[in-house]
């Protein structure tokens, strides 16, 4: 940084890596933000047996759907503050000024965000599955659907956050923008789990989810970059 004129331009890979590491470090410094979505996920799932019925049959029937809806709500919490701090500190302006494409930096941020907040949701699903009396042979399918589905939710939700980050009222507007877009993911994930419950092959649903993941991987960073540029300008 001392002599900018002679320094090599930042390579794409090192920029990606440095943002990824920065995000992980930042998250490590504030563990409460890590824990909050997970606790929220647990609590929402706990409410359903209390609100509907603790009968094992009922729980088995509604369990996967309840876990998925709770995951969606938990990810909404994550997404809501995804870019807020970066926007307030001016990090996003720094990204805009850098020579590396904005969408790449956004991609690094999203990948880190998935590892920080969503991977834990996938990991604790077996516990929730036990609470909801879901059969053991369904649990791998449930975890797989969340493993592929949560990044889609995160990427699409991040578009919504990038659009609204400049506004002071986030939450309600964000859910209005983002939740309709989550519906296909929810539908395919639950039908995947239903197929698994009936001991049928679920490769079809899985490949659709994976293709949705690839499409969102490709387009979401571009849309987010455009939205952030629009907000900062």
């Amino acid at each position: 940084m001392n002599n900018l004129s002679t320094s090599k331009p930042l390579s794409y890979w090192s920029a990606f890596k440095s943002i990824f590491i920065r995000e992980i470090k930042l998250a490590w410094q504030k563990p409460t933000q890590l824990v909050q979505p997970v606790v929220f996920f647990l609590i929402v799932v706990t409410l359903f047996p209390l609100g509907i019925s603790p009968a094992p049959k009922t729980l088995q029937m509604i369990g996967p759907g309840v876990i998925w809806i709770a995951a969606i709500l938990a990810i909404m919490l994550v997404v809501e503050r995804l870019f807020r701090q970066d926007y307030q500190e001016g990090t996003i302006e720094a990204w805009l000024l850098s020579t590396v494409p904005m969408s790449l930096l956004v991609g690094a941020k999203l990948l880190a965000a998935w590892f920080i907040s969503c991977s834990v949701l996938v990991l604790i699903t077996p516990v929730l599955a036990l609470l909801m009396n879901i059969e053991t042979h369904v649990i791998p399918a449930l975890m797989l659907s969340l493993l592929v589905g949560t990044p889609i939710l995160l990427f699409v939700g991040a578009i919504g956050n990038a659009l609204t980050v400049g506004l002071n009222q986030g939450g309600v507007l964000l859910s209005l923008l983002v939740l309709p877009l989550y519906i296909p993911v929810l539908i395919f994930a639950t039908s995947l789990i239903e197929a698994a419950t009936l001991n049928m092959s679920y490769t079809g649903q899985m490949s659709i989810l994976i293709s949705m993941l690839l499409v969102s991987c490709f387009f979401a960073p571009v849309a987010i970059a455009a939205a952030l540029k629009n907000t900062v300008n």
């Binding site: 699409v156 578009i159 659009l163 609204t164 400049g166 506004l167 009222q169 507007l173 209005l176 923008l177 939740l179 309709p180 877009l181 519906i183 296909p184 539908i187 395919f188 039908s191 239903e194 949705m212 499409v215 387009f219 849309a223 455009a226 939205a227 629009n230 907000t231 300008n233």
Partner: protein, 262 residues
């Protein structure tokens, strides 16, 4: 084509175009809707199964078709606005959104009114109904996003981006919902599915479909012209136009007073 399109990047030209087109669209809408509705409601034969209550098709199907058409055209306007930085296209996004939302709402309401006697329920979780409801949510999202920004330029661009993201999702939503429905319910109860309709019923339907398209076009022209006017309120061309109009009004007033004196 660029040569032909380019002048409309200028606000004034688009504004004038809107007002030039508005009377044509309005009159065409009145003519087609009045003739189509009278033909459909009074002269078309009644359905052998549904009796006279099928006649709501003349309002339900056109609004449903153009609710989707409006969303697509909104997204195309958004894409044009974002890619070529044409501000009028961005304004068109917000000009279309509430009209499209109203059409979606009308389609849902008329569908519910039709569904009650036919299916015995105001609402069923049928694929088409569900995707139409989601479409309404998408419209409401665009409108809400636009209204929550102070700076209207940022608002227009943000809602353009959202409209584009939404239109990528519309086919996915549509097919996923259709698939979900067939998975859960087996045989479909949709009676609308490709009705083999007799020509005496079809012609008024086509008239009303085009009529609602003209309504959509007229409302969008009016809204777009107003949006441009609000946006450019301090620009010289608007001031010139306003002063010209006030001058004309004064002149006619003067003439009138002169005539009175004589």
């Amino acid at each position: 084509m660029w040569k032909w399109l380019h002048p409309y990047a200028k606000a004034e030209t688009t504004y004038k175009l809107c007002y030039r087109l508005l009377p044509y669209f309005s009159w065409l809408a009145v003519i087609t809707l009045v003739s189509g509705s009278i033909w459909g409601l009074f002269y078309a034969p009644s359905d052998y199964q549904q009796g006279d209550s099928f006649r709501i098709i003349y309002f339900h199907v056109p609004t449903a078709i153009w609710s989707m058409g409006a969303y697509t055209s909104m997204a195309i306007c958004g894409l044009i606005g974002i890619v070529w930085q044409i501000r009028n296209a961005e304004l068109a996004v917000y000009a279309i959104a509430p009209v499209g939302a109203a059409f979606t709402f009308l389609a849902l309401i008329s569908g519910a009114i039709w569904g009650k006697p036919m299916w015995g329920a105001w609402w069923v979780w049928d694929a088409r109904l569900t995707s139409e409801l989601i479409l309404l949510f998408l419209y409401l999202g665009v409108i809400a996003l636009y209204n929550s920004f102070e700076d209207k330029r940022t608002a227009a661009r943000a809602s353009s981006i959202l409209a584009i993201v939404g239109v990528i999702n519309v086919p996915i939503i549509h097919y996923s919902v259709e698939w979900w429905n067939t998975l859960h319910q087996g045989a479909s109860i949709t009676k609308l599915d490709k009705p083999s309709i007799s020509p005496d019923m079809l012609w008024p339907l086509l008239l009303n479909i085009s009529g609602f398209l003209f309504v959509l076009a007229a409302l969008v022209c009016l809204r777009l012209a107003n949006q441009i006017l609000i946006n450019d309120a301090r620009r010289p061309w608007v001031k010139a136009m306003v002063s010209e109009k006030t001058n004309k009004a004064e002149q006619s007033k003067n003439k009138a007073t002169l005539a009175d004196k004589e």
